[in-house]
Structures are given as structure tokens and as C-alpha cells.
Symmetry: D2
Subunit: 98 residues, 4 copies
């Protein structure tokens, strides 16, 4: 399944990109497929693997913050692996770009 | 922590309220604190308990659908239990209603 | 249509309920149908009315903050007015509670 | 400000990529800065311009569907233009990749 998530501390100052960097390190070291975007991180895998990564990201922020806000969106389609790649390809095909 | 989530099948027809009813039954039987709203369900508990309930809700829909979409928002505040109750109360206080 | 939204400043300190109170005042004075929940505010109306309220809420927070984060979810169903009331009723009916 | 949004019909069948293609055409013709991701589209601009594009995308889907679901997340930071580019750059810098 494909999941997009964003996690950040509330109340620690306006710039949260150093926290984001800590989160990215966890994602990388997990070995899960991922894609950074300016608004959220997209990851792909089985439910438990995806949620384990998000849980660790959320809690690494909580070590240094009293309040953490996390949003997750899941698109889970039977028989569709590698949606991170195929969704954009299918779209380009429909737009006549392939 | 407080979490709000919505889960629904895509492509099974416009009315999804019978699916929602199956989801609510899982939530009730879990014993977790919850509140229904017209747009999502709010639950409160520890990370693992919250995510276990959402996982089961997501997958009960997947039994009868090839595609399931789930959104989750988490507000996790240190030292704040029973936020489901206290957040509204704190708000009413500020509005001068208490 | 039905919309749920949450808006808060990032980086102004952990407690944001006084900001939330300012937001609620705008919603009330707008006359739009609304329901407070511990995680978000639900409003119902036509697209332009809904978005006008959310825009004003977002910008009242920006007056005192350098960064504002807002999430909006819209459920727009043809021929369904008063979904704020009927969605919960339809659900209760399916759960055998009516 | 930066906004990420996803809009799709509920109940029209599992594959919604042709609808997504119609949405992308609107975004392109609007001239607004955008980036496609496998889960959502990110756009950048002033509040009214951003919301005008999202409104038109939502309603082009409603022409052929009785129910449309749209999610929007806004990150609005004073004095920060071109966040679509700078957020990823700032991140890479912190990760020691620049």
C-alpha cells in the first residue's frame, strides 16, 4: 500500500526542518521505499512495515517536544504493488505524454 | 493521544454507510474511547492500541473492496490524557461559556 | 457540502486553544452551520461560503503568527443537504439504534 | 503559500486516474506552480489563486459523479515564497547532501 505522512512538533519554533531531517534518517535506515515531497513523505510497503516507520518518526520528535502532530493518508489497492511508480506513469499515459 | 480517522472503500458505490457501520462495530468492541462525528471517528489511547483499531477497521473494508482509502490525524500531547473531553472544555472556557 | 477543518499556528508555543477560540468566534459570527469536535471543526454550506469562513479563520491566525497550517476535508454529495445531521442518523439506523 | 490536495469521486469504480487526468489539465492551464506526486498534487500561490484552482478541479469531477471527496493541506509561511523548491533544498542541506 501507499501512504503519505507528515509529522511535526507544535510549539518548538517556526522552523521544523531539523526535525524533518531526523525523520528522514529513520525512513532511510528502515530500507522502505520512499519519496520526499515539499509537503509530506510518501512510503510504500505492507501495513505493519509502513506503520512501524511512522511510529518511530513520530516518537523521535516526541523526545524533544511536548506535542507532536502527525497526519497519514493511505491508499491501499489490491494487486497493485509499486504504486509509487505506476500511479504517475498511468497518469502520464492518460495525459498523452508516454 | 487523540486520533481522528476516516476509512472508506473507493469504487463500491456512492453510499458507504453500511461499511461505516462495520467499522463502528469494531471500534465499540475494542473498548477504546471514541466519538463519532459526521466526517470521521475520534479515538483516544496509546499509539499501539489506536493503530490496532484503525488497522482492523481498514482491513474489514478490504475484505469486500479492492481499494480502501484511510486518513489518520494524530494529536499527541505529553501529560494530557482525556483530551477528547478536555480540549472542548478548555475551548468553552476561553469562549466564556463555563 | 460538508467540510471539516483544523487551523493552527506553528511555532507559537504548545497551547493553541486561545487561537482556536478566535477561530470559533469567526465561525459563529458567520452564521454557517457548524459542529466543534476535539480534533477539528465541521461546517456545512455551499463551496464559496465554506471557503470564505476557512479563509478568514486561517488569516486571523496569521495576524499573530509567521506560519499557519490548515487542513480541510470536503465531502460533497449531490442532493444531500443537512449531511451534518443525516450522516450520523443514517449510521445509527444501520447500527440498529433507531 | 504551499498547498497539497487530492480530489476524487466516490462510487464511480475503482480506477480514478482518468478523473485525475482531467484535474491535471485544469491545473496546467491555470498557470499555477505545481508538482504531481503519487498521492496528491502540490500547488503554490496566493490563497485565492490556490483555492480557485482546487474549486475548479473539485467541480469538474462533480460533473460526472454524485459524490466527490477532496482533501487540502496548507502550509502558509510569511516571507517564504517558492517553498516548493526551498523546502526540499533546506532539507537536503540538513542531511549534508548539498
Amino acid at each position: 500500500m501507499l501512504a503519505t505522512f507528515a509529522t511535526f512538533p507544535i510549539g518548538k519554533g517556526e522552523s521544523v526542518s531539523s526535525d524533518v531531517a531526523r525523520v528522514i534518517k529513520i525512513i532511510r535506515e528502515s530500507g522502505i521505499s520512499y519519496q520526499l515531497t515539499p509537503m509530506a513523505t510518501i512510503i510504500e510497503g505492507e501495513w505493519d512495515d509502513v506503520m512501524d516507520v511512522i511510529k518511530r518518526c513520530h516518537h523521535v520528535l516526541k523526545e524533544n517536544s511536548d506535542r507532536v502532530y502527525t497526519t497519514i493518508t493511505i491508499d491501499d489497492r489490491k494487486g497493485h504493488d509499486e504504486m509509487m511508480k505506476t500511479k504517475i506513469e498511468s497518469l502520464k499515459e492518460k495525459l498523452g505524454e508516454v
